[in-house]
């Protein structure tokens, strides 16, 4: 691994201790149980943690699917699903069952390996990113020193799923969608990274847990507010580039239902499609959690007096607030053209993010943060 891109003013990342062992009551209890069999404790704790993450991912994906349907419906003067359970609360189950029972089609001209590989990538990267999100001081599966770089790397990974899937499908619509997604991800990755660097500069930390801890106290200590102007601009830039990274409308070029008949997932059916579909929502949750961690104080309550409400609740409240924002965008804005998309990035968002990074550096340099 090359030198991490951390400004020298900050403490250098320690290369030895990269992953902190989870320390929580459950973890301690398991360690006690296993006694001196430390490798066993490690295996059990990791497996439990991964299971919990997978459960969280699938449950939240269901909730988000339902939420998306209801939010879109009410914004379009509709009601959305109303028959399956209370206000259609079981609709995601029905969707899932439908997809489960569908035949897994395998078009004859596909490149079999890449076609079958692609649906697993987005879910894997989403779960991997979820592993470093701190849900409270102790509820975090791993806290690598360079957590933010790790997340950035994973967000870059997810475009591979689209590229590989579209290439493997051997379909011109899929390939067009994949190529667009590549151009889009390539561009918006830059401003996303600039925003992440701004957050690193503001907090002086690269580990997720430490970034949250740097916002301790009242809500005006959150980076959104604490860094005058800079935090807010960084937040807006984060939201825009995260929407683009997530391939959500108004940046859903990879899918483009209206002109590419579904884009990269045109050839996918049944569970393979469901994997793409659900991973999209897990990614949405990850992006919202990341936004909450970087700018909204993560699991910290807005005022210390509210600390009796546990951290995971605060994180999820903030994350779902951001998810609502993403959905609000999706059902309000029309899709851009591809040239407008690239103009927005290269002529507006990247300069703004770059200047903002300079401003954050200046604030830091003059010791105003």
């Amino acid at each position: 691994m090359s030198e991490p891109a951390v400004p020298s003013a900050l403490e250098p990342a320690s290369a030895t201790e990269t992953v902190a062992a989870p320390t929580s009551a459950i973890a301690d209890w398991i360690r006690d149980l296993c006694g001196d069999q430390e490798w066993l404790a490690w295996v059990v704790i990791t497996l439990i943690g991964l299971g919990a993450l997978a459960a969280l991912a699938s449950v939240s994906a269901m909730v988000l699917v339902w939420m998306e349907r209801k939010v879109s419906a009410h914004m379009q003067l509709r009601l959305g699903p109303m028959r399956t359970g209370w206000h259609g609360a079981l609709q995601p189950m029905a969707d899932g069952l439908k997809l489960l029972f569908k035949e897994g089609l395998l078009p004859r001209t596909t490149d079999l390996f890449s076609y079958l590989l692609a649906p697993f990538i987005p879910m894997a990267t989403a779960l991997l990113a979820l592993a470093v999100i701190p849900f409270s001081e102790t509820w975090q599966l791993a806290d690598p020193e360079l957590g933010i770089i790790y997340v950035a790397a994973l967000s870059g990974m997810s475009v591979f799923a689209i590229l590989i899937g579209s290439w493997g499908s051997n379909n011109k619509y899929s390939l067009l969608g994949g190529m667009r997604a590549a151009a889009q991800a390539l561009s918006y990755e830059i401003s996303l990274l600039l925003v992440l660097m701004t957050a690193v500069l503001m907090s002086g930390e690269t580990a997720m847990q430490a970034i949250v801890q740097s916002q301790e106290g009242y809500f005006w200590n959150w980076w959104l507010i604490r860094a005058p102007g800079v935090g807010f601009i960084a937040f807006i830039a984060f939201i825009i580039s995260a929407t683009a990274e997530l391939n959500r409308a108004p940046f859903d070029f990879a899918e483009s239902e209206s002109e590419l008949t579904g884009g990269f997932h045109t050839e996918y059916a049944g569970m393979a499609f469901a994997m793409f579909f659900l991973a999209e929502y897990v990614h949405l949750l990850v992006a919202a959690c990341l936004g909450a961690v970087l700018f909204l104080g993560g699991y910290l309550p807005p005022v210390p007096a509210l600390a009796f409400i546990p951290g995971p609740v605060w994180l999820l409240v903030k994350a779902f607030g951001l998810v609502f924002l993403f959905m609000w965008f999706r059902w309000t804005f029309p899709r851009l053209r591809i040239d407008q998309l690239l103009n927005l990035e290269w002529k507006f968002l990247m300069p703004v993010a770059l200047l903002n990074l300079l401003a954050a550096g200046a604030l830091r340099g003059w010791g105003w943060l």
Binding site: H74, L77, R78, W331, T332
Partner: protein, 176 residues
Amino acid sequence: MSNPRDILGPQRFSQSHAAPKLIPPNASVTKRYFIRVVTGVTSLLTGMRVTIGKFFDPRTTVTQQYPENRDELKMAERFRGRVVMPHDADGEHNCTGCTLCEKACPNGSISVLNTKHASGRKILGKYIYRLDSCTLCNLCIEACPFGAIEMGTEFELATTRKEGLVEILNKKAGRL
């Protein structure tokens, strides 16, 4: 919901979509850039205000829970159900038997059979309407110069007898 356009709130709609300030033709590139940014952001915020308003205002919802609210179902005024001929309190209708609707109908769903009044003038005898071949296209209503027929709001038209689909719309013969 008398006029379906009211759902969108025509007043608010036209205000919030006031004509955008045009970019002055001699503006420099930088000025154009900033004007574009500002107008772009304002229009996005306007859109977001509209959608959030609709989101939190349950009165704007147009979907109806049909089988459950069958009794208080609200039909839009422009709904095209089957053709009906309104009769006033005396059981009179406005049809003069001019047969314009019969000629306008592309499917031959209407037959206007006229008869002779005692005075020797021609009046409407039977107005035969065949729902089975009607496409609910509204052309007959547009053709009628007397407003004698209109599109009803009835839509539960399924029947087990096809004879029930042919009907005489006028209750009385025409008047002079």
